[in-house]
Amino acid sequence: MIRNQLYSCPSCQLSCIARSDETILLTCRHCGTVISDNNAKKYSPAPVPEDWSFIQIGTKGIFNNKDFVVIGRIRFQLRNDYKNCWTIIYNDNQLGWLIESMGSLAIFETKTYSLSVEHTSKLKANVVIKIGKDIKVTGEYVEKCETLSYEGEVGPWKDLSTGFFMIQASSNNGTVLMFTVRPQQDSLYIVGKKTDLQQLKLENSIEWNEWK
């Protein structure tokens, strides 16, 4: 989509603005209808189910001394877990992912890398794999994606469909890799850093007062 361009919701005609050129879809903040670029792939509506995430569209934070704001999310429902992949936009207009699950937080770049089928077959839980020259990570889990849903402005996720296996691998210095793997195919992965609530200094998050 095109940054700062107005898109009209096909259902309610509400005007919505894309905040990044990397955005692949928008959902109407009024009726939830999916708005996509005329020339791009069409996506079906997939409203996000209610969960207990404390992050919401509009939540602000800081990572690596750069302010960011949450503008959308993809929610991957895995067999024994879920991943809320929040699209964040930094104050220099770059996009990133804030991936959250059960209190675990990590910030990823949107740049997507590819791993050959040969190497992909080695990706397993509790197995150490070397990626490139510098990165050595241990597989933490392999989970099949059952369903996905999205809301707001969604960043450049390369494989926005279900049925893939999500594999997370990390090193003790906090580097974390998130792979999406399909049988007999090269896998895609993004690179990030584990973080926590204190470091992110989140504002405008949901206040679950009954938990205080």
């Binding site: 209610e50 207990w52 877990d81 059960m102 839980a125 241990t138 597989g139 009954e210």
Partner: protein
């Protein structure tokens, strides 16, 4: 819980109910017919449990642990597959920190939460250091869920069945490593007392299972470490020694009388009467050292110290024996040619000593040396002994308790 919670319908009895965990709940039991089932599409099996088990913390109960409010979402009873013992786990939830567990076995509780680190990483040994604590392998086990109640954020039945768990302890902490084909998860735990739990959930401690034995992460003492106990003990001993040396520097250690006595000068009354000598100052100790040049012989004497000013008498006896020889290629000896009597709190004044000796046929002389205000170390050693007793008893007791703790482990360092 607040919010527009989703409703689900039991696949067995069609009972409708609202999920507290909203979309995060992936497995649950029906509140009506109590079957266990999953929400996803990958496994439509229904699990029925043979027995029900009482739970100390009801579903929905909220408690504050380490400053964080958690709600009880689910309850599990697990059975170890090899040794068949059972324990109970309560799944807790907080939206900011995710899930945690309270685990209870024999009335002992641990609060357990997942961690992001890989504490052992590539090491294969049974002991490692993490966050300044040395953890030792306590148990490895496979388990199965024999009862579940409530909601769960993952398929606890299948995951438990396929997971090998290793638990490492450094009481009151534990580290657990759960590995199966699809996941590697580390968790950390800490022993929590009944009292803390009772206050956290506002539930009377009498409702909790009765405590038996020593919990595998129960600390022997939570108020101080072994190291601090030993350091404090050493510092106290040093203080006592330095104090003694300081006070001893004021002791005059004065020889007030000494002489040698020969049997041939013994009077018809069989007594030696020493000349008068003066003890200066207030009440202080008096040391009477006796020496007899013995060789496979003995010497015995009765002494009476007499205060010439008021007639007070102090009586004591001294027997000295010394034997030596050469036997089986080795020389030996026993006894001593010296004897000592220490009289405490002898007031100043003029004194003499009456000595009633008994000589053997071989020895015919002895000598005495009377010393006033002699530095003594007896009190110091008594105090040091008192200081040492507590840590010594504590450490022996601790070792005994540690052996008892590890008696349930296949990896005991005491075997």
């Amino acid at each position: 819980m607040s919010g527009n919670n989703p409703n689900v319908s039991c696949p067995s009895c069609s009972h409708s109910f609202t999920l507290k965990g909203k979309a995060m709940t992936l497995a649950m039991t029906c509140p009506n017919c109590h079957i266990y089932y999953r929400r996803g599409n990958w496994n439509k099996d229904i699990t029925k449990f043979e027995n029900t088990y009482p739970q100390a913390l009801p579903l929905g109960a909220k408690g504050k642990i380490d400053g964080t409010v958690y709600e009880v979402m689910g309850f599990l009873v697990k059975k170890e597959k090899r040794y068949k013992y059972t324990w109970r786990e309560y799944m807790l939830f907080n939206p900011y920190l995710g899930y945690a567990f309270l685990s209870e076995y024999d009335g002992h509780w641990n609060f357990i939460w997942p961690i992001e680190d890989n504490p052992k990483e590539h090491r294969v040994d049974n002991s490692f250091v993490y966050e300044h604590e040395t953890y030792q392998l306590f148990q490895k086990y496979n388990a199965e869920v024999i009862y579940a109640n409530g909601e769960f954020f993952f398929d606890v039945v299948d995951l438990t069945d396929s997971t090998l768990t290793e638990e490492y302890i450094a009481p009151p902490f534990l580290l657990g490593r759960e590995v199966n084909e699809d996941s590697l998860l580390w968790f950390k735990g800490e022993y929590i007392t009944e009292k803390e739990l009772s206050e956290a959930f506002d539930i009377p401690a009498k409702n909790f299972p009765q405590k038996r034995g020593l919990g595998y992460t129960e600390p022997v003492s939570t108020s101080f470490s072994d190291q601090s106990l030993i350091i404090v003990g050493i510092l106290l001993c040093l203080f006592v020694i330095l104090s003694q040396l300081f006070l001893s520097s004021f002791d005059k250690n004065t020889v007030v009388y000494q002489d040698t006595f020969s049997a041939d000068k013994l009077t018809s009354q069989k007594v030696f009467i020493t000349p008068s000598f003066t003890l200066e100052g207030s009440s202080k100790n008096l040391d009477i050292e006796t020496y007899a040049p013995l060789s496979n012989d003995w010497f015995y004497a009765e002494f009476t110290l007499i205060n010439e000013d008021d007639g007070t008498e102090y009586n004591f006896t001294k027997e000295i024996e010394y034997y030596s020889g050469y036997e089986g290629g080795e020389s030996w000896s026993e006894g001593s040619m010296f004897g000592e009597a220490l009289l405490s709190k002898i007031p100043g004044g003029h004194y003499h000593i009456n000595i009633y000796p008994e000589f053997s046929t071989l020895n015919h002389e002895f000598s005495i040396k009377v010393t006033r205000d002699l530095p003594t170390y007896t009190n110091m050693w008594v105090v040091i002994l008192c200081i040492i007793i507590y840590p010594a008893v504590y450490l022996v007791h601790k070792r005994y308790r540690e052996q008892a703790r590890w008696s349930e482990s296949d990896y005991s360092p005491y075997d």
